[in-house]
Symmetry: C2
């Protein structure tokens, strides 16, 4: 007998799981739509050539490839994977977005604001919290270089976290041009920047000494490394000291003015400081002053960012790490077309948000303790089956969720089943009810029983206040 | 430059498409949940062995297979497709359901009522209205043999069609045991039944002579074929005649009593008649008497049905064909376990429903003419950007969907853009507004302009009644 487990790294979502996922997705959608972002959906399957070469060597390895079919599959002469495959599974939501933008140039507005919440697939080694099928919730604003875009995106993401009842979260902010400025001013050559940013991203995790070693091994001069790290570390430690007595917004202003001095002779860096200053002011003015932290060591691994970069970290309980992030990437959306198109976007990791919310019991009771129905109608015999189904329809018309016990079993068996699925009420039409056009009901929480006319039953059950 | 089209047979859904799809999916969910059905989701990717052999030879060919990865892929020694592949894309929602039921025996209720709305993938030749990625909307009630299950499913599907504003639709009803009875009573041997049902399913389309030929070529005796077809055709023509003057429910009663006489000496057939009679009465009593048609030629192609079978056909305009169907299949859900489990379910074809609704203009105006936002806030200069973003936040808190024009372009450029994306209102904070804490607005439909205090603006725009 074949295994009945889902495939490795994949998950089935039973009803209680789906409800929790849909609750979070629903709030994400609602907030993004209130900001004027529009929904986009792309196919799970893309042409292989659309995806190949877009995610680096490591990414290429992790793309699920689909076998060619019929005559196209030439098993005998196939030499490489690409001879065998013509399609692949969606690996992220950014490359499909770029393809859609190129393919629908004339149908999309000049500023295309879209959100997209769909699964992606990666042939990663499964681990705790790492799956081969997982949802991404992307939001991107395409077509403008204005910092108002960054500010609106940070507002939207913050509102999502607030609506999900995350009380303490930090939106960490930096800028790729600031990083470029710091690196160049420290004497680190441009050719080393990508690797340096990857190492710098680990500063918090592995510490200064380890980062220094990593960079020195790559051939960067020790003097440059030390200049760079000392500057960043001094900034951070002074900032942390300041935070003991002063609010975040003052510390951010201080960080920004120190960056401005350090980068005074670096045009690109100076531009980065001006932009981050602007974003910081706009979001502070919009009520986020206690959530934004300007952090010069934030680097983000991906190579395609060109401007502001952002990471979103809940600080609930003992959760460590980010639930999302993003930034400006002015060179990527144009990859399938002729012109460069400015763009800025964030991605929220649904799976990580769900883990934190589950651990911290953050789901509202109607989601956490949801039941398949508000009422179960019992079936007490052939004669009353039709009336019982009608009763169920009537209660549904009155707005209740009603399940019908499907067969004429003994009453106590039906009663036990109702308790096992957690419905708060049962209703039935007894012989007496048939004669008097009434319904018998029981509240399964209090065990209270009652009888009322059929036209009143929905209101009666609602008044027992177990049903919204 | 690579193609920017979606892969063959796959589709991108731009915002207007997604809204229409979500509107229909939303109603399907709402109705199924009001009947106590619970949501289930399974992974897009299944183990190859889970899917192979479940869909017949033709189905096996149409399954998208995923290439093995890393060391598992032994290109040199691979002799067959199955040496190259270990995973496959979901082909329907029934096999995954059977797997989930077997895998979660102890966690699922005895009567598991689930709905599942997810895409499936088939490597079919794409054609008009036929795609390689398409959504199925399945609903199944597992664990009971009672005809109350069939009745509730028919009610639910009918309610969905009614809520979607299908006025004329027919739920065609038959029973596999009735078909078995007719075939055996006509002298057609059991070994020919599957093929006979496939031919019979085409009766309406290709006519009696063609069906007779098909069956005779298979080696069935002409006498048996004629007995069978004559009985069915007489029943149908008498029924159609009756329908000219009498209501559906009387015609159905007549059909049922003729089936009862014809099958009087066939136990299984008699049982089928009793069951169809019961289903028909239950749904008629529940208000569907003008939508149900008992139709002895309805066969449905799939081999796994064991009881009642159903097809759902809208009769709006010139649309021909079904938008869904299903029936009882008591032998299938147990395929991954040891015990047989009774089950009955329907599948709605989202893509076909959407085609009919699009052709007939059946979407409500708020969906058909949806805009990305209710209001666009203009940006009139650096000094007022922060206040403009705050204004947007305030209007969102008041329940409006608000998009912000992202940069400080000339006013007429912003105005044109607002018109191009179809928002009904624009708002802006002019220099004067900055001084007096007011907002300027314009209704883009009537061109009417106005000014009011910031705290009143959401109510003011709502009173202009272009926003829900």
């Amino acid at each position: 007998m074949a295994s009945t487990n889902p495939a490795r790294g994949m998950r089935d979502f039973l009803p209680a799981d789906v409800r929790k996922r849909n609750y979070v997705i629903g709030i994400i959608k609602e907030v993004y739509e209130s900001y004027g972002f529009e929904p986009l959906e792309t196919p799970a399957v893309e042409n292989l050539e659309t995806l190949m070469g877009k995610y680096g060597d490591e990414g290429n390895q992790l793309v699920f490839k689909i076998l060619k079919r019929g005559e196209k599959l030439d098993l005998e002469n196939a030499k490489t994977e690409n001879d065998l495959s013509d399609l692949a599974l969606r690996y992220d939501l950014t490359v499909p977005l770029a393809r859609v933008v190129a393919n629908n140039k004339n149908d999309l507005p000049k500023f295309f604001k879209r959100y997209q919440i769909q699964p992606v697939w990666r042939a990663d080694r499964p681990a705790r919290g790492r799956f081969r099928e997982f949802y991404q919730c992307d939001v991107d604003a395409i077509g403008s270089s204005s910092m108002a875009v960054e500010a609106e995106l940070i507002s939207a993401v913050s509102e999502i976290l607030t609506r999900l009842k995350f009380k303490e979260f930090i939106v960490t902010l930096n800028h790729r041009k600031i990083l470029t400025g710091i690196l160049e001013t420290s004497g680190i050559e441009k050719s080393f920047h990508v690797e340096t940013l990857v190492s710098l991203d680990k500063l918090e995790k592995i510490g200064e000494a380890a980062v220094t070693n990593e960079l020195a091994e790559k051939g960067i001069s020790l003097k440059s490394i030390l200049t760079c790290l000392q500057f960043i570390n001094r900034l951070r430690s002074e900032r942390n000291k300041q935070l003991e007595t002063q609010p975040l917004e003052d510390a951010n202003q201080e960080t920004i003015s120190k960056l401005r001095s350090f980068l005074a002779n670096h045009d690109e860096g100076t531009k980065g400081v001006a932009e981050i200053d602007q974003v910081n002011r706009l979001v502070n003015d919009n009520g986020l002053e206690s959530h934004v932290l300007v952090e010069p060591s934030l680097a983000r691994g991906l190579s395609y960012y060109t401007g502001a970069i952002v990471e979103i970290e809940p600080k609930e309980g003992n959760f460590q790490g980010s639930v999302g992030g993003g930034g400006r990437y002015d060179g990527l959306i144009g990859m399938f077309g002729k012109e460069q198109i400015p763009a800025c976007g964030f991605s929220l990791g649904l799976e990580r948000i769900l883990v934190v919310m589950e651990e911290r019991g953050m789901f509202p009771p109607e989601i956490a303790e949801s039941t398949p129905a508000d009422v179960m109608v019992m079936l007490l015999g052939e004669e009353s089956t039709a009336e019982s189904l009608k009763l169920a329809s009537e209660m549904r018309s009155a707005g209740l969720r009603v399940t019908v016990y499907p067969q004429n079993d003994k009453e106590d068996k039906q009663w036990k089943y109702a308790n096992s699925i957690g419905v708060p009420f049962i209703c039935s039409i007894t012989e007496e009810d048939m004669a008097t056009d009434t319904v018998s009901y029981q509240n399964l929480h209090t065990r209270e029983k009652g009888r009322c006319s059929r036209s009143d039953v929905a209101d009666r059950l609602r008044s027992k206040s177990l049903i919204a």
